[in-house]
Symmetry: C2
Subunit: 138 residues, 2 copies
């Protein structure tokens, strides 16, 4: 099979390009695309324990713990002991983590529109729908 016909190769390479661009534009804010995923969960209250964040992001809990360590050192999140259950660690946004929401979401919107800029709106919609179909079918 030619590589240009291999959906895994094309997905991986396209994802790599978009990820690189996002890394480049997020760098001035001191965060990585993976860390943005965690921040986005916290901004939208889609989980606040490492386990819930891992489930929402479809990542291993150990991967999320590594992201959280870096984000805590960077000062954008903090870990607190849950008052309801002292065995549970909850993740909270610091003021700096909250303040990142607006500029970081602007970066994400910019990357999205750059990536989709060469497509008509029907082509963009078809691409996003095809990707969602791959995700939800599998």
């Amino acid at each position: 099979m030619d590589w240009e016909e291999c959906v895994n190769y094309l997905l991986t390479t396209a994802q790599h390009h978009v990820h690189e661009r996002m890394s480049q534009l997020l760098a001035p804010y001191g965060i990585t695309p993976g860390q943005y995923g965690v921040l986005n969960c916290l901004w939208n209250k889609r989980g606040d324990t490492p386990k819930e964040l891992a489930q929402t992001l479809n990542l291993e809990t150990s991967t999320v713990s590594g992201l959280l360590d870096k984000m805590q050192r960077r000062g954008v999140i903090d870990r607190i002991i849950s008052e309801a259950d002292r065995r549970v660690v909850r993740i909270i946004l610091t003021d700096e983590g909250c303040a990142l929401q607006e500029p970081v979401l602007a970066v994400i919107r910019q990357v999205n529109s750059e990536v989709l800029s060469g497509f008509t709106s029907a082509e963009s919609e078809a691409l996003l729908a095809a990707l969602r179909a791959i995700i939800y079918r599998n």
Copy 2:
């Protein structure tokens, strides 16, 4: 922005699903999707030094070296000193590495057709063309 509209999130998640399926089907052959990338270069003579392989695969040379270490231990490749230039290491396929070509390519074709199975051929073509456009525009 809703996640379902974010092209980076959709690409990453779709790629993750396809990669997981490929990992599962390649496991009986003792290789990973990344190692398949290296084997594919070698089968198609698209590079035979770590540097050339890294360029073809769009990976860091250090990442390729790590893949090659595991593949050498697994017995599918070997490293030899180039006769033309003794500073250059060339990668060769072992008999076992050659023998993997047919069954592994069958796995790749299977994953491809599973992933694209819910689409009409026009939809599949449009998806692959959109991914190629993202890759070559960026």
